[in-house]
């Protein structure tokens, strides 16, 4: 029996079908199908890339995500996540016909209604604004009613409410939560609805508010900008300086290489955070200085990896072959060495951005990196630490934000490292 020509195993048949398919599809599909080969590492890279993309979008376009500005004071302080902020309510005697603020309006020329508030609370601001709004609406009214309230300030909550009981004033405006506490002491008083209508903060704040009433969630969103700016610019500056130095050192060799390596090794061994602390302590707090300090810290990382890789590639036979046919030095550097070094630099860059973000957050946590008005996660954590006994949300969420961003870059580096490092791949 003879084997017909068709039955001979062709090279094509020996290759798994999905590998054959790879040759016929475009880049995107090829990347998608690679997951069969790399397994979990592929997923590491994919998930982290989606996360990085998400963070970049948030950093570039914070407006649609953040409900408030970074330094806007939007409510009372220390509101827990989802806790409804206390609203200013109108307090009137039980038998009074007044139901809402508008009922206090009087005809033009008669005595202005007096309303008591407690000193130093945001209630008086809310009252004045709300009265102005109602007054503007009344202007169009033919009945000639106007609402021009006279605000009387009292020192304590009890004095404020007592003034209503004594009929010194027509009504009082206090926080609803405050009134609940002392309600039993003033049986002749009742609270109406909130003096404001439905406000934007009716459902509370997603992640609560901080000690001066800024929205924690909005500050998180705005903080992404600062974190990514520091991470990327510091790493790029370090890369731009470190990679050429490494290439030059390994290519020129000799005493230049020796002294440069000694310097870089010393820098590398020194704790980066402490070096950055020293630099920022002298330069003073600003975003630019923090970037410079962190960039200096990471130059040796690039230098070392590029130098090491270049040395090992230089020893390869194909470089020697190129040299023997008379290729110029720059040619060898550009066509043979550089492409072999790039993958490691990509891995290091990814891990480096993560490190830089952590170091930056650490510096601002220590109060060294940034001016305290900037919305930054490290600064928010440092502010929250003082209130650890009362406000758990202030220290929980900025930390989670740092962790997620750093995790995205680290996972990407980790996945890429396993994919590029054939030593670890199963043989």
């Amino acid at each position: 029996m003879t084997i017909t020509k068709e039955e001979y195993p062709t090279p094509e048949n020996e290759i798994a079908s999905w590998e054959q398919d790879l040759d016929r599809v475009g880049f995107v599909r090829r990347a998608l199908r690679a997951r069969k080969w790399y397994g979990a590492d592929w997923w590491f890279v994919a998930i982290s890339m989606v996360m990085v993309a998400g963070f970049l979008i948030i950093a570039f376009f914070p407006d649609p995500f953040a409900p408030f500005g970074p330094n806007e004071i939007v409510g009372s302080s220390f509101l827990a996540p989802g806790e409804t902020p206390p609203v200013p309510v109108l307090i009137v005697p039980q038998d009074s016909p007044v139901e809402e603020l508008q009922d206090l309006a009087v005809p033009v020329g008669s005595e202005r209604p007096a309303i008591a508030v407690e000193q130093g609370l945001p209630t008086s601001v809310a009252l004045r604004e709300q009265a102005q709004i109602i007054d503007d609406q009344l202007k169009d009214d033919p009945e000639e009613l106007r609402l021009r309230v006279r605000i009387e300030r009292y020192n304590t909550l009890e004095e404020t409410l007592q003034a209503v009981v004594d009929e010194e004033v027509h009504a009082a405006v206090v926080q609803s939560t405050d009134f609940e506490v002392v309600k039993s002491q003033f049986p002749t008083l009742r609270a109406s609805e909130s003096i404001m209508g439905d406000t934007a903060t009716a459902g509370g704040f997603l992640l609560g508010t901080n000690e001066i009433g800024q929205d924690v969630f909005s500050r998180l969103i705005w903080g992404a900008q600062v974190a990514l700016l520091i991470g990327f610019s510091a790493s790029i500056i370090a890369l731009v300086i470190g990679v050429p130095l490494g290439l030059i050192a390994s290519f020129v060799g000799g005493s230049l290489d020796r002294y440069l390596s000694l310097l870089m090794d010393s820098l590398y061994a020194f704790p980066g955070l402490i070096l950055a602390i020293a630099i920022t302590a002298i330069l003073g707090p600003s975003i630019f200085n923090i970037i410079v300090a962190i960039a200096v810290v990471y130059i040796p990382t690039y230098y070392r990896i590029v130098r090491g890789q270049t040395f090992s590639v230089k020893a390869e036979v194909y470089v020697e072959a190129a040299r023997s046919i008379g290729a110029r030095r720059t040619e060898i550097l550009r066509r043979y060495i550089f492409p072999n070094v790039i993958p490691s630099v990509a891995i290091i860059f990814s891990v480096n951005v993560a490190d830089a973000i952590l170091t930056g957050a650490g510096l601002s946590f220590l109060g060294l990196g940034l001016p305290p008005t900037i919305a930054d996660w490290g600064i928010d954590l440092a502010r929250g630490q003082r209130f650890i006994q009362t406000a758990w949300w202030m220290i929980t969420f900025p930390g989670i934000a740092i962790m997620l961003v750093v995790l995205a870059f680290t996972l990407m580096g980790e996945g890429l490292m396993e994919i590029f490092n054939p030593k670890l791949r199963d043989r």
């Binding site: 397994g39 979990a40 000694l262 310097l263 090794d265 010393s266 820098l267 590398y268 061994a269 020194f270 704790p271 980066g272 955070l273 402490i274 070096l275 602390i277 020293a278 630099i279 302590a281 002298i282 330069l283 003073g284 993560a354 952590l358 957050a361 650490g362 946590f365 220590l366 109060g367 060294l368 490290g378 954590l381 929250g384 630490q385 650890i388 006994q389 758990w392 220290i395 929980t396 900025p398 930390g399 740092i402 962790m403 750093v406 995790l407 680290t410 996972l411 980790e414 030593k423 670890l424 199963d426 043989r427």
Partner: protein
């Protein structure tokens, strides 16, 4: 005798005896390695010292003006500059700085009672030791066990779990982990104290000989103080140890996996030795050698982590000292603190390399 001198004697004398023993009894290769390595440490210390000096003196910003603030009239500023030698030529200043560093005589601090900086550090340095040493042990044991476990179950759920653990731990800001532990165990469960080294009331009963409170309380038999010290030690140690353990899991895992491909492992497997014995005895033992060298490189992470941990837990160590003095703009103290950190890094990496050369004969020259 000052506490720092006692600690220096406790650590330094055995180290010196060990070093001399190695130099006398060791083989030529080992001896040459140790001497070369010590020779390499000196330029490293020199470079780091120079770096610290130039950062502190040459970068823009005048320490005296900023330390005095608005009350600094030109005459006072000039007098203090003269006292500190800031008006000397830069090379003279540099020479003085190097001399100070070699003799460990840093002068008096500009703030906080104007005490000699060496005295201040001798109170702070033991605190850092007390935190850093147990944290390293915790990190190493967690890391080695976890890494070997992951490697023995390569490409299975455990392996991926340990990898995710190490990546997540690596991504955690150490100060945030500290805050979370404080919140959980200090505020919500109320089990452990969240700041300081010892209960202030119990602290007054403790005789401070070495300023390492655990040792002091054991020496003086003050069990109440020992309990309080240990309770205060738990959270900072766990914080620092957990963060470091992530790196060790990674290193051990990678090294054990690489070792598992070695011929002698295949040979042992062919003889029918069980997989568990293979991993934990044959592979792990050899994989530990590179891990030991990498401990030396982790010193940087350890010290940086210590600065942040000390800040979170109000732990009066060297890191806290540095941060405090930066905010009070005490530049002599800051400069000396950073110089001491540089010395520490150099000495620890030297020690690790020498230990490594004892364990692994291949690295000797």
């Amino acid at each position: 005798m000052s506490p720092i001198a006692i600690i220096a004697l406790i650590i330094g004398i055995p180290a010196l005896i060990g070093l001399i023993y190695i130099l006398i009894t060791g083989s030529t290769g080992l001896r040459r390695f140790v001497i070369t390595r010590i020779g390499l440490t000196l330029p490293m210390v020199f470079i780091l010292a120079t770096l610290v000096f130039f950062i502190m003196r040459v970068l823009p910003g005048d320490p005296v003006t900023s330390a005095l603030g608005p009350k600094g009239t030109p005459e006072i500023i000039e007098r203090i500059r003269e006292q500190l030698g800031l008006n000397d030529p830069i090379l003279v200043q540099y020479g003085n700085f190097l001399k100070d560093m070699i003799t460990l005589n840093f002068g008096n601090s500009l703030t906080g009672g104007h005490r000699p900086i060496v005295d201040e550090m001798s109170e702070r340095f033991p605190a850092t030791l007390e935190l850093v040493i147990p944290a390293s042990f915790l990190a190493l044991s967690l890391g080695v066990i976890g890494g070997a476990w992951a490697a023995s179950r390569r490409k299975r759920a455990t392996d991926y779990g340990m990898r995710v653990y190490s990546v997540v731990i690596y991504s955690l800001p150490i100060f945030w982990l500290g805050l979370m532990l404080q919140l959980l165990f200090g505020v919500w469960l109320n089990w452990l104290p969240i700041s300081g080294r010892i209960d202030p009331v119990i602290g007054t009963t403790l005789d401070r000989t070495t300023n390492i409170y655990t040792i002091d309380s054991i020496i003086s038999g003050n069990w109440l103080a020992l309990g309080s010290t240990l309770a205060h030690l738990v959270l900072p140690t766990v914080t620092l140890g957990l963060i470091l353990s992530g790196v060790f899991v990674r290193l051990t895992r990678i090294n054990v996996i690489e070792t598992q491909h070695a011929d002698y492992i295949s040979a042992a497997r062919a003889r029918g030795i069980r997989e568990r014995v293979l991993t934990y005895k044959h592979a792990l033992k050899n994989a530990m050698i590179p891990v030991i060298t990498l401990i030396g490189l982790q010193v940087a992470i350890l010290l940086a982590g210590a600065v942040l941990t000390e800040t979170v837990f109000s732990w009066p160590g060297m890191g806290r000292y540095l941060v405090e003095r930066i905010s009070s703009r005490d530049y002599t103290a800051v400069q000396s603190g950073i110089a001491v950190f540089a010395l520490l890094v150099a000495v620890i990496s030297l020690a690790v390399d020498i230990i490594y050369s004892l364990v692994d004969p291949r690295v000797r020259y």
